[in-house]
């Protein structure tokens, strides 16, 4: 197992009358009883931006929740007024001004992923289509069962959703990301059809959707989000030390 030590030194000769000298070191270990060393890292990386749009540095969905992960961030700017606003989910933690760094634990708490079912019914014909999330699936066999199989077979092609077979007539779509707000379905009731899913059938085949997990509950993953203060080039240095 890798041994990674993290040390912090805080010092000042004149902040208080007797000065400040604080040195602390810890070996980064996994959570729980075993407490073996952390053994995964993203490595030190840098991201440059030229807009003030918020972006996500680390997605909670991509890491195991409630572990002993550690996040390192540094603002590489030399301009005193430039800062990154650092947030977890929607809560602002603070501002990293030029040269500032942060080092903190991260639980990577997962959010709730939106999901819905797509039920295919009545008579489907060869050449009928279902279009969703930028993927067009055309059935080569005139049965709803075959269409379900065709959709699930394209799972790797859907950028924002994962289709799985719920039954021979029903596909369950689950969002890949719990904070995938830009891809929310705008549907309110069971059985409604929506422009999000477009089916084209030659006969009387139907494709109905039903919400399983409401989108309102989705914005809960504790992603680490960054917002640059200026639209000129700013560079964030970052790393994650984590466990599986």
């Amino acid at each position: 197992m890798a041994t990674v030590s993290a040390s912090l030194a805080l010092s000042s000769a004149d902040l208080t009358s007797n000065g400040l000298v604080l040195n602390t070191t810890t070996n980064l270990k996994k959570a729980g009883l075993a407490r073996t060393n952390l053994d995964n890292t993203t490595g030190i990386a840098r991201k440059s931006t030229t807009s003030v749009d918020q972006y996500t540095a680390f997605y909670a969905d991509e890491y195991t929740a409630d572990k002993a992960h550690k996040v390192y961030l540094k603002n590489t700017s030399n301009v005193a007024s430039e800062f990154f606003t650092v947030a977890i989910d929607e809560e602002v933690m603070g501002r990293l001004y030029a040269g500032d760094f942060a080092f903190f634990p991260w639980s990577a708490t997962d959010g709730v992923k939106q999901s819905f079912t797509l039920t295919l019914d009545l008579t489907w014909a060869t050449g009928d289509k279902v279009v969703f999330d930028g993927v067009t699936v055309t059935t080569a066999t005139a049965t709803t069962t075959a269409m379900v199989d065709d959709i699930v077979a394209q799972a790797d092609q859907y950028p924002n959703w994962i289709p799985t077979e719920a039954s021979e007539h029903v596909v369950l779509f689950t969002a890949r990301s719990s904070n995938n707000l830009e891809n929310m379905l705008e549907i309110e009731s069971t059985g409604a059809t929506t422009a999000s899913v477009v089916s084209t059938t030659a006969g009387n085949g139907t494709a109905l959707i039903a919400v399983v997990q409401e989108p309102e509950a989705n914005s809960t993953a504790n992603d680490i989000k960054i917002t640059p203060s200026v639209a000129t080039t700013m560079t964030l240095e970052h790393a994650l030390l984590y466990e599986l």
Partner: protein, 132 residues
Amino acid sequence: MPTTTATLTLNTSEFSGGGAISKSTTLKKAGTATGIDQFTGISRVYQATVAADLSVVAAGSYADAQAGKVYIKNSTPDTNTAYLLVEMASNVILGRLYPGDWMFLPTDGTTDIKVSTSAANMYYEFGVFHEG
């Protein structure tokens, strides 16, 4: 104005291309070259029983939009499982500090920071560098 320096060192010899990285910064007021001049001191707390939502940063006590920094350490002797849960605002979980672990985080004076202990007989310490 005071000069306060914070230095982070991460050291490992076992990752390929690894080795020590060391980053230093002088704590300054927001958007300026002026050193931060206020400090709570380092508090050390003994918590005899499991407790939730112990205040470390009460946002209402500080001005907003500042370049404050908070230091927190779980100084409990190594019991393997006694972690300090760090939370922001209304219980948004940031992470767990296991015995010996520390954190150094910016705080802009708008969000409460709290800790909860997971076991009895825990120790933790914290300090806030701020602008008032």
